[in-house]
């Protein structure tokens, strides 16, 4: 799947849930292209901002949207990659600080 098609498909599914693509369109398209690349590499869309092991069972928590997105968007207004954000983040009502890695080191099995 191409990044543009992925954008349209995910937008329809994610926006009603309160997860918006960042309004930094260039960054979003780069991340979506990286997700397509990871799908080719690993067979699943592993988070582009984390090192995937290539073994699905070790990477399940970081298949996009990762399990950490809910907490990160609730706390910081953005997921770890700045792909999915809240409306407030896009409206500039929340400072765009770097999102610390929430994934515990114990889950990182490379």
């Amino acid at each position: 799947m191409e990044a543009k098609a992925l954008y349209e498909m995910l937008k329809k599914v994610q926006e009603p849930k309160g997860y918006y693509f960042s309004n930094d369109r260039e960054r979003v398209m780069e991340l979506l292209e990286a997700l397509c690349l990871n799908k080719e590499r690993y067979g699943y869309m592993a988070c582009p901002c984390r090192l995937a092991s290539g073994k699905r069972k070790n990477d399940e928590d970081i298949i996009c949207p990762c399990v950490y997105r809910v907490q990160d968007v609730a706390e910081y207004g953005s997921c770890y990659c700045n792909l999915y954000v809240s409306k407030e983040w896009n409206d500039g009502k929340i400072s765009h600080d770097y999102i610390p890695e929430r994934r515990p080191a114990s889950r990182m099995i490379f």
Binding site: L37, P48, R50, L51, A52, Y98
Partner: protein, 82 residues
């Protein structure tokens, strides 16, 4: 200027931002995209990263003695004396 090394991923947005920032500041750096490595080469680099950043998250930037995890422009500037 202290030597600059980046442990990065080829797909990571924060790694791209870090490299772009250093390019814009005309700072020279070495980098290794860990996702492009395999087998023993990858394991060896991961062991090296863990010494600086036990979480093994990216980018991990080494500037002289300083370790900066993530894309943090202010910290990069301070460490580089910019």
């Amino acid at each position: 200027m202290a030597p600059v090394k980046i442990f990065s991923l080829s797909t990571c947005s924060h790694c791209k931002s870090t490299k772009k920032f250093l390019n814009d500041c005309t700072v020279q750096y070495d980098f290794v995209d860990v996702d492009l490595l395999q087998g023993e080469e990858r394991s060896a680099i991961l062991e090296e990263i863990k010494k600086f950043n036990p979480n093994c998250s990216f980018p991990t930037v080494i500037i002289g003695e300083k370790v900066i995890v993530g894309y943090k422009e202010k910290e990069l500037k301070e460490a580089l004396g910019l």
